[in-house]
Structures are given as structure tokens and as C-alpha cells.
């Protein structure tokens, strides 16, 4: 028996199902993070522009003066410019590489973890936003902003590095670990994987600080794994050199050793047959030549693309897992 003297509630079928307008509230809720993150990216970008512009010019001029000195005992050159360039380069590179960790920590802590811990996720789910839609909106918008921000910083880093490459003597080589990653798209893939890891951690752990830590650690582990696997992600090039020359070739090092008479490979006991002791050892082994497996500069982008591809696949898997966990917990009906 209904309790109404007036007309009862309209039947469910007549209820219009509008799409909840989430974006505006997502931005409002994470306003401090948006502003903070944006400021960080702008700051880093400004530093990179400063690095690639005035700092590079000053350092290059200093190097030129230094080289022109030759063996002149009293020669002045602007040493502080060189040191400043070096310091700023290191700091900014560190900043670019820190972004994936920050994104992951933020995703685990503020984005998802805090909502599952305080119960505001449940508030959203009972206020017209289905759990799946809730998670999707919290992944898509941050993902777009992350790609934009990280991509910008990586592009600027590459430009800054490239302008200094031929003009500054102590530029890091393209295969130096930090420079390799900061110049390319690996940080973007890593940041996306971190975002997904943070969301998953927040859903599983339901504690903001724990999810924050777990996500940051996950990014570290992922990066370590990708970096360890890096040399093997693309077929390497082998450079064979004579016993006199020793192993030669610059690039991303994969492995080196000696080739034996039987056509096999062995570890190199020493590095040049110009030394008597070495010559004997090599002769005993039956070594015919030195070899070095490496990746030349032309392999930079293939390596970057494969590594990023792996990271994106991991990000996809983590995202799928997050949706699965959500569905299992809340029992969302499907079919």
C-alpha cells in the first residue's frame, strides 16, 4: 500500500537517464594538483628552454675559449658557465625522469586511494556515476594531461641536449642512461603505466598512503626491468676488430668478447694483443678476433619505441586489472 494521498512517484521507465557531468567536478576536486602539476611542468619547461638557449651558448663559448688556450699557462675562460650548464642539465634531467614517479604517486594517493579510503568513491557510485564510468573518467583525463606534459618535457629535453651536443665537450652521450630515457618517449610510457598502477593500487589497497608508495615502487621496478632489458629489445650490431685493435665501437653496449677459431664466442681475458702477456693468452684460447655487440645511434628510436610499447602494454594490462577488480568488488551486472 502506497502512503501517498497525492500522486505516487513516476514509474522508473519515465525517468530520463542523463549522462553525469563529471569533468568539471574532477577538475574542481583536483584543482590543487592540477595547479601544482602544471606549475611543475612549466617550471621544468622554462628551465629546459634556459638550458638549451642561453646556458648552452655560454657554455659553448667557454669551451671554445678553453680549447683555444692550448697549453698557455695563464688563460681565462668562463668556468662557471660550464659548471652551471652541467648542474642545470643534471637537475632538469632528474626532474624529467621524476615525472612518472610523481604521476604514479599522485594517482595512487590523491586520485584513487583517497577516494576509496574515505568512501567518497561510494558517494559518487550512489550519486549517478557507475563504478566503471567513475574509473574511466579518472584515467582518461589524467592520461591526456600526463602525455601532454611528459611529452613536452621530453621533447624540450631532446632539443636542449641536441643544441649542446657538438658545441659542448662534456655533453652526455646519447646512450648515457639518464639522457637516453629523458630524450625519448619512455618517460611518457612509464608515466601512463604509473597512472594505471596507482589506480589499481588504490582500488586494491584502499589506503591512500599505501597506494601512493606501492605505485611509486611499481614505477621503479618497471623502469629497472625495462632498462635491464633494453639492450635486448632490438637486434644488435656486431663489430669485429683485429686482436691488435682490441674491441672497438661506441654505442649502447650489449656485450663483447673474443671470437675463437671454432666460430664460437668467449669472454675476453684481456683487451689488446699488443701486450705480450695478452697475446699469449689469446693464442692459447685460439682467439681470432675481438667482437663487440652494440647499438649504434641509429638504433635509438627503435629501442625507444619497443621499450615504450612494452610499457604501454603493461599500462593496458594494469588498467584492465583495475576494471576487473572494480567489477568483482561492486558486482556490476554485465549481460
Amino acid at each position: 500500500m502506497t502512503a501517498a494521498l497525492t500522486t505516487p512517484a513516476a514509474p522508473a521507465a519515465a525517468r530520463p537517464a542523463g549522462v553525469p557531468r563529471q569533468w568539471r567536478w574532477l577538475a574542481r576536486l583536483h584543482r590543487p594538483s592540477l595547479i601544482g602539476g602544471g606549475a611543475l611542468v612549466l617550471l621544468a619547461a622554462a628551465a629546459l628552454v634556459w638550458l638549451g638557449g642561453p646556458l648552452t651558448d655560454a657554455s659553448a663559448a667557454a669551451w671554445k675559449a678553453y680549447n683555444a688556450c692550448g697549453f698557455t699557462p695563464r688563460c681565462s675562460y668562463d668556468q662557471s658557465a660550464i659548471l652551471l650548464y652541467k648542474d642545470v642539465y643534471n637537475y632538469v634531467t632528474f626532474a624529467v625522469l621524476a615525472v612518472p614517479f610523481l604521476v604514479a604517486a599522485w594517482a595512487g594517493g590523491a586520485l584513487v586511494g583517497r577516494e576509496t579510503e574515505s568512501g567518497t568513491a561510494r558517494l559518487a557510485w550512489t550519486q549517478g556515476v557507475s563504478p566503471a564510468r567513475w574509473l574511466a573518467s579518472r584515467l582518461v583525463l589524467p592520461a591526456v594531461l600526463t602525455v601532454a606534459g611528459t611529452g613536452l618535457l621530453a621533447a624540450l629535453h631532446r632539443w636542449a641536449w641536441a643544441t649542446g651536443r657538438d658545441r659542448i665537450d662534456t655533453t652526455k652521450s646519447w646512450y648515457d642512461a639518464a639522457t637516453f630515457h629523458a630524450n625519448g618517449i619512455v618517460p611518457v610510457g612509464l608515466a601512463l603505466a604509473g597512472l594505471a598502477a596507482g589506480a589499481l593500487a588504490g582500488l586494491v589497497l584502499r589506503r591512500a598512503t599505501a597506494a601512493l608508495a606501492a605505485a611509486a615502487v611499481a614505477v621503479g621496478v618497471l623502469w629497472g626491468a625495462v632498462h635491464a632489458a633494453l639492450p635486448y629489445l632490438w637486434p644488435s650490431v656486431t663489430r669485429v676488430t683485429t686482436l691488435d685493435e682490441g674491441p672497438l665501437g661506441s654505442g649502447l653496449h650489449v656485450g663483447e668478447g673474443v671470437l675463437t677459431a671454432g666460430g664460437g664466442r668467449a669472454a675476453a681475458p684481456c683487451l689488446t694483443s699488443q701486450m705480450q702477456s695478452c697475446r699469449d693468452t689469446l693464442a692459447d684460447m685460439g682467439a681470432t678476433a675481438f667482437y663487440r655487440d652494440l647499438h649504434p645511434a641509429s638504433h635509438y628510436w627503435p629501442l625507444q619505441l619497443v621499450a615504450t610499447g612494452i610499457l604501454l602494454a603493461v599500462a593496458g594490462l594494469l588498467t584492465y586489472a583495475a576494471f576487473r577488480v572494480l567489477r568483482r568488488t561492486t558486482g556490476t551486472a554485465r549481460g
Partner: protein, 141 residues
């Protein structure tokens, strides 16, 4: 307008209290024939009582012919409850009797008991509750 006061400890069912208070209001002239009773929503918001209870009370009043429900408009008072006007002969007789009772030394409680006994004889109470062997809740034993 009627302001319902529900006394939860009185042992009287809520809907009965609403019926009684409505009747009292009609008797006192606070509600005249043609007046609209407060809607169930209004009563319920003021007293925090279940809407069904109010509807039950209104239905009881309707059954007794005191009110009528007009669909979509509300519930309206149908007739007044005959109250003896201030100058009726019955009232004068009662005043007389009360004065005599006082003179012979009857206390207030004695008069009330006497009156209730006579009332019971002439106006026996209808069974208000459905339960047969049960006394209302609140029995001190």
C-alpha cells in the same frame, strides 16, 4: 489549523491520538465543516510519524462520517460535532450538580470517578483495538 501532538508514552495508539485530536479540534470549532485537514505530508513532517498511520486515522474519521476525501484536493471536514453550547439547559443542570457535589464534600477525583462510571453506563466504549485478550502496552506488571 490543527497542530497534532503525539504522546508516545500514553499507551494510546498513534492513529487513535490523531483521530481524537481531530475530533477535539472539530468540537472546539478550530475546524469547521468545509475546512481542509492538513495533508498527510504536512502532518508527517511535523510529527515524524509514519504516513500510513495518518492515512489510517483519516480513513477512520471518514468511516465515522466526520470527514470526506476529495481526490486530488485533500480531505475536508464534513460536519461538526455537536457540542452543547454555553447556555444550554444541560450545562446549567451540570453546573448545579457540580455545586451540590462540592458542598457535600466530594473531592475532584471522586467527582471524576463518579462521572466516568455514569458515562460508561450510558456511553459504553467500542472496542478500539483488534486484539482480544490483550491489554494495551504499558501495563506496569
Amino acid at each position: 489549523m490543527v497542530d497534532y501532538r503525539i504522546d508516545r508514552r500514553s499507551g494510546v495508539a498513534t492513529y487513535v491520538q490523531i483521530v481524537q485530536q481531530t475530533k477535539q479540534a472539530i468540537r472546539l470549532g478550530l475546524l469547521a465543516p468545509g475546512d481542509k485537514l492538513p495533508t498527510a505530508r504536512e502532518v508527517v513532517e511535523a510529527t515524524a510519524v509514519n504516513p500510513n498511520t495518518v492515512l489510517k486515522a483519516y480513513r477512520e474519521l471518514e468511516r465515522e462520517g466526520l470527514v470526506e476525501a476529495r481526490r486530488g484536493l485533500g480531505t475536508f471536514v464534513r460536519r461538526s460535532l455537536g457540542a452543547a453550547p454555553a447556555d444550554s439547559p444541560l450545562r446549567a443542570e451540570l453546573e448545579d450538580w457540580a455545586a451540590r457535589a462540592r458542598e457535600s464534600g466530594l473531592e475532584r477525583e471522586d467527582v471524576a470517578a463518579l462521572f466516568t462510571a455514569v458515562l460508561e453506563t450510558h456511553y459504553p466504549e467500542q472496542a478500539a483495538h483488534a486484539a482480544s485478550a490483550h491489554t494495551p502496552q504499558g501495563d506496569p506488571s
